[in-house]
Amino acid sequence: MTIYDDHYLGGIEERVMHDTETARAAGAKVVGVYCAFTPKELIAAAGAIPVALCSGSDFPIPIAEQHLPRNLCALIKSSYGHAIGDSCPYFRATDLLIADATCDGKKKMFELLGRKRPLYLLQLPQTSATAESHAYWLGELRRIKVILEEKTGTVITDDAIRKQIRLYNRLRTVIHEAFLLNTTPIPLLSGRELDTVTSVAGFEINLETRIAEITAAIREIKERGKEDDYIASVAGRPRILLTGCPTTNRKVLHLLEDCGGIVVAMESCGGLKTVGGLVPEHGDPLVNLAGNYLSIPCACMTPNLARLDLLQTIIRDYSIDGVVELTWDGCHTYNVESFQVEECVQATGLPYLHVITDYSENDTGQLKTRIEAFLELLH
């Protein structure tokens, strides 16, 4: 049985790194991105390589705190610290950055980050509920498209965008398929494995290869359902839905599984929040991208009722036993929204645990007690 861990992913990352170096030597530009609202299809349609940048480690935070307030969320500080401290190999390779004005912390951090790399900000409306905000967002994508054309010296044709839309839809579909493996009575992957199997592994280059790898992994993982040893290893473990802030740092995910739970679904960026909806493949490609990306149910949007609908669907489809909400300390949007999430979860009759923490390890003892006690509730 293949174990889908950091070692497995490491090999893939090396290949991707190598392919990227070759492409860069041939003149390809690398465009760094942060949040999920930036349509990578546009970047790829310009012949550039999109890459999501590092934001998960604790160690760059002290460097970041030389410029940023201490009581800012760890994800933002880590992103900034990785960039200015030169500890993110992906950031090092970027020619420019496209960021999205999501939460207050991020958009103000981006002002400082722009000193380190040319940074172009997509001004994100705060709602997807009005025609005006859709029109505004479409205007932003048009503006960024022109910038990308200038920086790469490539004219972005509608056909090129359509081609990338089809490719990224296939990536979303295959990632979603990996998640769906956990809708069966015997969950086929742990949360940490889901994280690894569905990772794009850095630079988004030669995605066809990555899609084929994920497809192969899914084929192999399906066999687990027939293995008695595997079934015994997961039987009876409480099925957890992890929601809230991105699981960029995995300490809570790991604690949940080390304490005996199994995270069968993640409603977060990169998880079910962003892979569920496909971009329509016919019609104006930019309009289609704008519509799809603006409807991502992130807590920076108001109202954000689509997230509650999504949670209820996941709870039902994945036979969830308990919901854990992760808030990175200082993330006001997710923290405030947790009130409605708790109401929504309690209406389904399931227990809910809200964990507010940062990237440091100094609360591991208390977190472990809270998580173990929560898992005891589920038995």
């Binding site: 007690t369 809270r370 173990e372």
Partner: protein, 249 residues
């Protein structure tokens, strides 16, 4: 058959041995900087057939003694129900944690809340404040009950509260009044935690801080319900662990 429960807390270790639900022996000691050594001391010469550990040191114990473990939350719930079968709301304030536990039908934990990493409003907070006011921990509560006026302490962080106490002292406030202000701050926080989960009804109060008569009095005043403190509020976790073990949980 003798079943033992051991609660390894941040400040104290308690061990309770039971037989068919009846307490046979109770031992208690300070945790100190050497919990392993203190665990050995507590268990020295104690007879029991099996043992279950709880408290923040439970994993340490699990490894060393190949014992079963349970969280304090479940253990306190079980221990409280044993002494007070009607208990639904349990407040436990220990050395560095505070918890509110709500029991449902059959005594099963229904919901709980627990402080995060910060020891604000726990035993540690009161200990540091007692020292700042030159009281022993035992004197702190009774002295606060003698206060003549109500001072508001705004800081809940142990470090900030200490500076606030220092400035109140330099302002000439008397120490009974300052002590009451500190107790009020702890109770405000604990009552807030209870109110978030509370179905109503009496509060079963356990953990070392339950020994503080002023906290108990102020809680009753704030919540307007009886606050029940068992004879030894520090053994509830160990008792609960022993009971859970005996019941095969």
């Amino acid at each position: 058959m003798l079943s033992a429960g051991i609660d390894i807390g941040s400040r104290t270790i308690e061990c309770v041995v039971i037989e068919d639900g009846a307490i046979r022996e109770v031992r208690q000691t300070a945790t100190t900087f050497d919990p392993r050594g203190q665990i050995e001391n507590v268990l020295d010469g104690l007879s029991f057939d099996w043992i279950m550990a709880t408290g923040y040191g439970r994993d340490l114990f699990e490894v060393a003694y190949a014992a079963k473990t349970v969280t304090e939350i479940k253990a306190y719930g079980r221990g409280a129900r044993h002494l007070f079968p009607e208990a639904t709301t349990i407040l436990d304030i220990g050395g560095q944690d505070s918890k509110c536990i709500i029991l449902g039908t059959g005594g099963k934990v229904q919901r709980f809340e627990m402080n995060d990493r910060c020891a604000a409003g726990t035993g540690k907070f009161l200990e540091v404040m007692a020292e700042a006011l030159n009281y022993s921990l035992e004197e702190l509560g009774p002295s606060a009950l003698k206060a003549g006026k109500v001072l508001t302490i705004n800081a809940m962080c142990t470090v900030f509260a200490e500076s606030e106490v220092t400035s109140l002292i330099s302002r000439g406030e008397n120490r009974e009044d300052i002590a009451l202000g500190l107790h009020l701050a702890v109770v405000k926080r604990a009552a807030g935690m209870i109110r978030r989960l509370w179905p109503g009804g009496p509060i079963f109060f356990a953990g070392g801080v339950a020994r503080n008569t002023c906290i108990r009095h102020l809680l009753e005043k704030d919540l307007q319900v009886p606050v029940i403190v068992p004879d030894n509020p520090q053994i509830i976790g160990a008792l609960g662990a022993a009971l859970l073990l005996e019941e095969g949980a």
